[in-house]
Amino acid sequence: MSRIFVRGEGAVSPAGWSVAALREAMARDEPLPMKELARPGWDRSLLVRTVPPASPRPAFMSHARLRRASPIAHYAVAAALEALGADAAGLANGALRLGIVVCVMSGCVNYSRRFYNETLKDPATASPVVFPETVFNAPASHLAALLGTTAINYTLVGDPGTVLQGLALAADWLLNGQVDGCLVVGAEEMDWITADAVSRFTSLCQVSDGAGALYLRRDTAQGPAVELRAVTDSCLFSNHQTRAQAARRARAELSADGAPQLLCDGLQGVPRMDRDEAAAWHDWSGARLSVKKTLGEGLMAAAAWQCIAAVDALRHGRFAAANVSVVGCNQQAIAAQFARTGS
């Protein structure tokens, strides 16, 4: 038995704090409104899409580990809890070994910027409360603490394609019997310095934040299920392979078996950034969902939203199989395939 199923999914995005909110925003097919983010030293603001405040405030935010945590941890936890559903309650007794893979690109940038700013002003008074929250694996740690899990827990850093690498890693852990279930989370948080950094490459890209989580198991719940069918190789951008070549190679690796009818791509309406992926999939004749056009460039979170949009569409019976294409910022092109199954 080497099948891997998506047991649940969760999302926090500029559309709101649930997969349903993401689904509704995608159904409206209109870019979500942007807001202005002040950038120190500039007269003009940066335009971004951010996660709206949670209302009501989720109960987990009062957990001792999460009261002072930064938004990225809150997003990751909220998405993970939605993905886990009822299984979350059974974790603390140790009956289920839950692996955790959290993927980030910018990571805990709010506290990192704040702590470095304090350091520059006077390192002697920099806050010891802030520093630990700067560490890449702080969100994964908070999530494990909240769930009461002690199983293997990795934080992966890379460009957005890393989320799909995380799915393959989780599948490996499950098939090896190292864990009984595994969460794969992609998460980012908004900060002017991230938006500023992206603006160095294009002024047309609107950064956003949030998280997406997929809960993988070897077994299914009752009724129709969604299966992870394939994750391609990670096709690196290097001196030997351009981004365009990598995108084409990733696409070529995906099987046409099962006739995927949906493509969840990473196009965002910025020609220079979309060019390589658009070329690789130029002859795609099925349906397309481009979550970034609606939700913005959420980096690692956006790659997770792409997967969630695909899984959600399959779960609701709109398609039998779906491809996800992630042509990352500066590391890799990679793709995945999901399929609906009756067993």
Binding site: S2, P40, G41, R65, I100, V104, S112, F115, Y116, N117, T119, L120, P123, A124, A126, S127, F131, P132, E133, T134, V135, N137, A138, S141, H142, A144, A145, T150, A151, I152, N153, Y154, T155, L156, V157, G158, D159, Q165, A168, L169, A171, D172, N176, I193, D196, A197, R200, F201, A230, T232, D233, S234, C235, L236, S238, N239, N330, Q331, Q332, I334
Partner: protein, 412 residues
């Protein structure tokens, strides 16, 4: 394809055929082995950034050579590499040369780091604040700050194509990376994997540990009853791992064997281990199970041993519990007094220390130890010691409760 992959019924044995390292002790295997064996302390006043307002002013800085070794990297790529990337490349080059590897399209790279090119991130922020209208070099800093860029530099330097996996599990990152690489090889996902850990000293991280008052204001003394903190360092270690069959087929010199890996999560506190060392115990137990060996077969433990009161106490409890009756005669030391805590590089360098000890049949001392912590049921190696040992175990623990253990075997 990363998934699905053929399931392999039997595990492959995983051997080490190349090992490269750079620390404050120097560049290269030999000088580091001599330093660890003699217990040399390589601390000095920090010169990389201003520490005049810090509580602690010393660390273990590495000396980088003026030139990087010749690789396939282009001049502009070399020019853009930051300190962390250079440390990593130097260690990788030594390992690659020693292994005699040739480029391959499907060679995975698994790295551990906590902060990648943090110094570039700091430069970016300072310019963004002090000269907000200036775009000079900012795009380059954005790209090269990210850890995947340092991985891509290695891929370009040696002509392989990945995939690249970067594990950022705080101070266990390097051990997790090597452990993950070991899993890839032994389960047949790859015949060989380039793996290791690295981190360069940075002002942000130094100030962070200083703010926590985790840095020793005197001298780093792991497992000392009067220990008062850790010392930071920088460096990198890289290993070439391959299946025994592959290494034999190409008549490679085998340096050692990696036989076990365990990982566990401590959810007690973001920065403090559970006082009983529960996750450390679980991690050592898992590593022993995967290696199929018992504690009485272990000849040496390179402890995480940071020198902080909380870490060493919890680790001592975990080792006592895990080793049981064997604890009373199981030599343990920590080498962080010598080269500092290398954070994402620590687990990789300390795995290499175990390899050195196994190959040389000696035990690296904790030479700054004065009064052993009474909670330690095990003997702490305090002076250069020759020994006969077949297995060595390395512990790495990190913020966020990341715990990882590696077990290495002597190749004879």
């Amino acid at each position: 394809m990363l998934f699905p992959v053929p399931h392999k019924a039997e595990f492959s044995r995983v051997v080490i055929t190349g090992a490269g390292v750079i620390t404050a002790l120097g560049q290269g295997y030999k000088v580091n082995a001599e330093g660890f064996r003699s217990g040399r302390v390589a601390m000095r006043r920090v010169t990389l950034f201003d520490v005049s307002r810090q509580r602690v002013k010393i660390a273990a800085e590495a000396d980088l050579p003026p030139e990087l070794p010749r690789t396939s990297l282009r001049e502009h790529q070399i020019h853009r590499m930051d300190r962390a990337a250079r440390l990593l490349l130097l260690a990788a080059h030594e390992a690659w040369q020693q292994a005699g590897w040739t480029p391959s399209p499907d060679l995975p790279l698994v790295l551990g780091t906590t902060s990648g090119g943090m110094s570039l991130g700091q430069d970016y922020y300072r310019q963004a604040i002090n000269a907000p209208q200036s775009r000079r070099q900012q795009a380059t800093r954005v790209l090269h700050y990210q850890a995947q860029r340092q991985g891509l530099d290695l891929a370009d330097a040696f002509g392989f194509h990945g995939p690249i996996t970067i594990i950022a599990n705080a101070c266990a990152s390097g051990a997790n990376a090597i452990g993950h690489a070991w899993e890839l090889v032994r389960r047949g996902r790859a015949q060989r994997v380039l793996t290791g850990g690295y981190d360069a000293l940075s002002h942000l991280v130094f100030a962070g540990f200083d703010s926590l008052q985790a840095l020793s204001p005197t001298q780093c003394r792991p497992f000392d009853a009067h220990r008062d903190g850790l010392a930071l360092g920088e460096g990198a270690a890289v290993l070439t791992l391959e299946t025994l069959e592959y290494a034999r087929r190409r008549h490679a010199e085998i340096l050692g064997e990696l036989v076990g890996y365990g990982a566990a999560t401590d959810s007690h506190h973001l920065t403090q281990p559970h006082p009983n060392g529960d996750a450390a115990f679980a991690s050592m137990t898992a590593a022993g199970a995967s290696a199929r060996i018992a504690p009485d077969q272990i000849g040496y433990i390179n402890a995480h041993g940071t020198g902080t009161p909380l870490n060493d106490g919890a680790e001592a409890a975990a080792i006592n519990r895990w080793a049981g009756a064997r604890a009373g005669s199981l030599p343990v030391s920590s080498t962080k007094f010598s080269i500092g805590h290398l954070l994402g590089g620590a687990g990789a360098v300390e795995a290499l220390v175990c390899l050195m000890a196994l190959r040389g049949q000696w035990l690296p001392p904790t030479s700054t130890l004065e009064t052993p912590e009474p909670a330690c049921a095990f003997p702490i190696v305090r002076a250069p010691t020759d020994a006969k040992l077949d297995y060595a175990l390395s512990n790495s623990f990190g913020f966020g409760g990341a715990n990882a253990t590696l077990i290495l075997r002597r190749w004879a």
